[in-house]
């Protein structure tokens, strides 16, 4: 199974650090760079960020991709080596170093266009990228992105890549979810809870509904320790990820019916953190159903608190 390149986050980005790096680039003609590549999934997106985050995972089915798309993929993979990531400008500079001579022969056209033309010219047939790695791509606001030819090139290619399903390996994602849960289950101490929540949040940001599906399966099948289940459900409410908000709420509401009181408690805590008025009625219903008096009191408290913040 191949991986997917998919858009997993959209936020407004104002990251001065990126802009300063962009300013340091020698490509003076290129406007502030709108794209930022990360080798590892960002745990927290810069406050106020905008644009898109893509995750690319696993191998690519070359037959699904055009030559140009493969080239871009190749470029991305070869050039996103640093921990901090690389800006579009740095990427372009690196391309220029590699292909500058060819680009010169073709004339000083915009860097990426030159690169594509050059690589098409030289390579003839493009081979599959040597290996694929996960990486994350922030793109800046669409308007700015489209203001440079490089931006248009990258953006349209990313879109095609996404459409062509360059494909997150679902099985690999599942294994990562399972590993996270397994490790936490046997070491769940207070001090590790925050760390676990961060890792879980990063996974949800990366894998979206697929990750939630795997979590749901594990919780529904009662394969996890009750305390870990409670922590997972509680943590799902704390993640800031509008794209999965509704799905997370559905999952939490579902587990208000869970056989374990630990899970019901975690689901209620998650719903309170989610802070959505639509969670009120399911929580009120859960109060009505609850047979454990102590938990019933906590559910009532959760309803009252949520009422106070959303109504």
């Amino acid at each position: 199974m191949a991986g997917t390149l998919r858009q997993v986050e959209t936020k407004r980005v104002v990251d001065p650090d990126v802009y300063s790096l962009a300013g340091a680039s020698s490509l003076g003609s290129v406007r502030p760079f709108q794209t930022w590549f990360h080798r590892s999934p960002p745990r927290v997106l810069p406050e106020g960020s905008s644009g898109s985050v893509y995750s690319l995972d696993k191998s690519v089915l070359s037959e699904d991709l055009t030559e140009r798309e493969l080239v871009l993929l190749d470029v991305l993979i070869r050039n996103t080596n640093s921990e901090r990531g690389v800006t579009l400008g740095q990427l372009a500079e690196s391309l220029f170093d590699s292909y500058g001579g060819i680009a010169s022969a073709l004339g000083r056209k915009p860097m990426f266009r030159s690169y594509f033309e050059a690589s098409n010219y030289v390579l003839g047939g493009v081979t599959r990228p040597p290996s694929t790695r996960s990486f994350w791509i922030f793109t800046w606001p669409e308007q700015a992105e489209a203001s440079t030819e490089e931006g248009i090139e990258i953006q349209s290619t990313l879109r095609v890549l996404a459409d062509a399903s360059v494909l997150a390996d679902n099985e690999a994602l599942k294994q990562r979810v399972e590993a996270l849960l397994r490790n936490y289950e046997f070491s769940s101490m207070d001090t590790e809870r925050g760390e676990f929540e961060q890792d879980l949040g990063a996974l949800v940001l990366e894998g979206g509904s697929s990750v939630l599906h795997h979590l749901d399966s594990a919780i529904t099948a009662q394969r996890l320790d009750p305390e870990a289940t409670s922590d997972i459900l509680g943590a799902l409410g704390k993640i800031h990820h509008p794209e999965t908000h509704r799905l997370r709420m559905q999952l939490l509401v579902k587990h208000l019916h869970h056989a374990s009181r630990w899970a019901r408690d975690g689901a209620a805590l998650g719903l309170v953190s989610l802070g959505d008025s639509q969670a009120l009625q399911p929580l009120r219903d859960a109060v009505g159903r609850e047979q454990v008096p102590d938990l019933k009191r906590d559910l009532i408290r959760a309803v009252r608190y949520l009422e106070s913040v959303v109504e």
């Binding site: 406050e47 409670s230 408690d265 805590l269 454990v292 102590d294 608190y305």
Partner: protein
């Protein structure tokens, strides 16, 4: 009579439950696993009769963590410990909330049987409370520029508080 606050690790361990195997009047073992003792001591906090220092103590507890999770705790009557002969001593506390530190106490010279007896005696009457994450956040935010020694708060919590201040 003075009451004492004991922080729960997991509130659900303190649920009163009915099991077929549980003889009437007996207590399942879960609460014992929730009390973390060190050198035979259990950390508790003295709460004024009118509970006027309760929020201050909760603030101190909230500021010694690195996340804005809920705080679960129990309040038990001091007589419980007294009747079991469990000594209560002033315990050193060094939280970022200076005014709360003098309220820290330790139940001391605890043995397995004393701890079990304590749980057994306290369990039916202990007041089990919770402060939700939003309430904990509010509690810290309200005291952030006053009671809290910000530079002594874990950097991760400080970052979260600063984020919360930013979104206010």
């Amino acid at each position: 009579m003075t009451s004492y606050l004991v922080k729960f690790s997991r509130k659900r361990n303190w649920d009163i439950l009915q099991f077929d195997w549980l003889v009437r009047g007996e207590v399942q073992s879960d609460p014992i696993t929730d009390l973390r003792t060190k050198d035979g001591k259990l950390s508790v906090w003295e709460i004024d009769e009118d509970r006027s220092n309760l929020e201050l103590v909760l603030l101190a507890l909230a500021c010694t963590r690195w996340d804005l999770d809920e705080i679960d705790f129990g309040l038990f009557n001091g007589e419980v410990a007294q009747e079991l002969g469990i000594a209560i001593e002033h315990g050193r506390a060094n939280t970022p909330v200076r005014r709360a530190n003098p309220y820290h106490r330790n139940l001391t010279e605890l043995t397995v049987s004393r701890l079990a007896n304590f749980v057994y005696a306290a369990f039916p009457h202990i007041e089990k409370e919770r402060r939700l994450p939003g309430e904990v956040t509010k509690l810290i935010l309200e005291a952030w520029s006053g009671e809290v020694k910000q530079d002594e708060v874990d950097a991760r919590l400080r970052e979260k508080i600063e984020q919360a201040i930013g979104t206010q």
